[in-house]
Subunit: 394 residues, 2 copies
């Protein structure tokens, strides 16, 4: 290999080779640098810039970087708690990704750079990291949906032991509005969370099915025949689908049960989702009473029908279809082992979820409630996945 | 769904919701816009910028954008040939990705925006596009390599009919230096090329196995336990691996043959690779004579041993191990149906490949030669995949 290394180094260094391929836009800097004390240093070379700022979900407002020397701007944070963080720079008013950091996430149309802070084994930063543990496979799977009349794409995680045989329980994991079948594996770090919790014996080995909740598009932007369109929030609703996500979900489950070695029955089947996916979870679980033993609503958008001036609990109670579905869902035969409602204190959907709880309390439908700080954010949804995935199939 | 739409629109528009999640860094522009005549218009809002440039692999040198109004800078190209193109902006000296275009590729540490020009069904732009045809699944698979003593990641494409049953031939498809198991599905558009050629009846349905050719890393940057390190060209050689990629390749094949429904035998087994992966292809095919019926060298780095002042053909001929391997590979029993050598006229490896051809001519080892314009670039490698994948298993 030594001679091959010398050879390729020659390729890299030769000026003519630079013309062969690639537009190199990196900088010879390390950024971000997660320091041992949990502080994080950012660096950007921008010699002509007048003002360079840093915006991130670890800051209450954008901060100014300071020009050090040779046009390199820097900023060091205070010590940060364990978490996966997102940030961008702003250079003279233009949003700008850190060219020294190749780790990036897309949320609808916005890219951010990311980094992870972990301070101890088992903290959330550690659970979001790829550790030296057995890894599950992540497959992008196309399935036919007779209900929608389309071929659609989903992401399926199989646990590390899957290739060795055996059958496994299934968690259906749903994204929010603006997301797609990539959301939970990119922003949600679902594969890392499951790998790490399974390795620690804290979650059961399970198959995780991450579907696309936009009924009128087949896959994530760029991955289906609409081509490289510019995504936007709920943009997928340009042409109507033949059915709703909740109506078509039976096609997903029937595909998974046919093509994967799954254990069925409510003790082996779970569903959860965030925001719009929380609504889908709420709706799908009502359409399939007795199917899911574990149901998780993460910052869920609860109930859309009825007069918005009427409190949610009354809208549910007074709708004979919905209240009837709840009655069937919580009948002795069908009732789930866990109906889990999680939300942040400052989430704009807090009151909706309080209304659902009020309805369930009045109806004596059991549920578990998990309230956190913060709002409608991925930090919470990743945390809810960590919590929920340890409660199921046990 | 209508009420749900209204609900989520309210989320999007409310000022408080903006504080809930995401750093929106998009612009309300369409860029790039591929016009009907094949010209392409770029737009960037940069009101404070003094100079905005566009650099791309469709330009001989960077061009200046012109400030139109409201700080929006634009440029329109001449009509472009069908191709997948890459570009970046430069704003006052800083490389800058197009915030209106979420479609991006990473090549080592550099990101570029991309777009596709297609002018007719079946042209290369069309073959690189996701069309309304049946799609194969793309799985990220972890396998154990006893030879390297590590768990490693590879990308496996299964053809659209795979889920219905049957057994399939296998193409092993190898990346170049600096790349990883993501390279062929991102920069190489391998899944789209195969989907489209299979749908057109031009390529046989096949399994495509895209391995990681860096023996001392387990997976692409960020996907293994080294964490979110900054990748660099050949950076993976920081700690030595227990064996070379070519020595360890038997572990890949044995995993694939055990876990996938593959047809074996040289009429059902092909291997090809680009640059360093061309070297791996050359080496692996010699280590496994009779295994591969179809061998493709794309801009291959041919032969590293010996005195670099001696022509390649003489170095091969005078090395008893290598010339002996060639003799076995081309024996009556083992000889491949196709030994395919492809290179661009201005590739810096052109002379190496000419040397290999000289050796093979002198030894009467049959091969096919495919010479194109251009150099050591993805445009050529995608083109070579289109050509090679139509020649195999027939």
């Amino acid at each position: 290999m030594k001679s091959f290394l010398a050879f390729t180094s020659a390729l890299l260094l030769s000026a003519s080779a630079m013309a062969q391929q690639a537009l190199f836009n990196t900088q010879d800097l390390t950024s971000p640098e997660v320091n041992k004390d949990g502080t994080v240093t950012f660096r950007l070379s921008a010699p002509k810039a007048v003002k360079v700022q840093l915006n991130g979900d670890f800051l209450s407002k954008p901060v100014d970087l300071k020009e050090e020397r040779n046009g390199v701007w820097t900023y060091t944070t205070e010590s940060l708690d364990p978490e996966l963080y997102s940030y961008t720079f702003k250079v003279d008013g233009l949003e700008f990704l850190d060219p020294s950091n190749v780790y990036r996430n897309r949320d609808i149309v916005s890219f951010t750079n990311m980094f992870i802070v972990s301070k101890a084994k088992g903290d959330c930063g550690d659970l979001y990291s790829v550790n030296n543990v057995p890894h599950g496979n992540v497959n992008r799977v196309w399935y036919g949906s007779p209900t929608l009349g389309t071929q659609r794409r989903m992401t399926i995680y199989t646990p590390p032991t899957y290739e060795k045989g055996g059958s496994y329980p299934v968690l259906y994991l749903l994204h929010g509005a603006g997301g797609d079948e990539e959301a939970w594996v990119s922003l949600g770090r679902a594969a890392q969370v499951l790998d790490n919790l399974i390795a620690a014996g804290k979650a059961k080995p399970m198959i995780v099915v991450m579907t696309n909740g936009n009924a009128n598009c087949d896959a994530a932007p760029g991955e289906w025949h609409r081509g490289m369109y510019k995504p936007s929030f709920m943009s997928h609703n340009e042409s109507p689908a033949k059915a709703t996500t909740e109506e078509a979900y039976k096609d997903v489950m029937s595909y998974v049960e046919k093509h994967y070695r799954v254990r069925t029955g409510k003790n082996n089947t779970a569903i959860c989702g965030l925001s719009m996916g929380g609504y889908h979870t709420y709706a799908i679980s009502k359409l399939h009473p007795g199917k899911f033993g574990y149901i998780g609503l993460f910052s869920a958008a609860i109930h859309m029908g009825g007069n918005s001036n009427t409190p949610i609990d009354q809208r549910i109670a007074s709708d004979p279809t919905v209240s009837g579905q709840f009655k069937t869902l919580f009948s002795a035969k069908n009732k789930p082992y866990l109906y889990w409602i999680a939300i942040g204190k400052t989430d704009f959907l807090y009151e909706q979820n309080a209304g659902l709880r009020k309805f369930m309390d009045a109806s004596h439908y059991p549920y578990e409630y998990y309230e956190t700080e913060g709002g409608h954010i991925w930090k919470n949804w990743r945390n809810y996945l960590i919590e929920f995935s340890q409660k199921i199939f046990k």
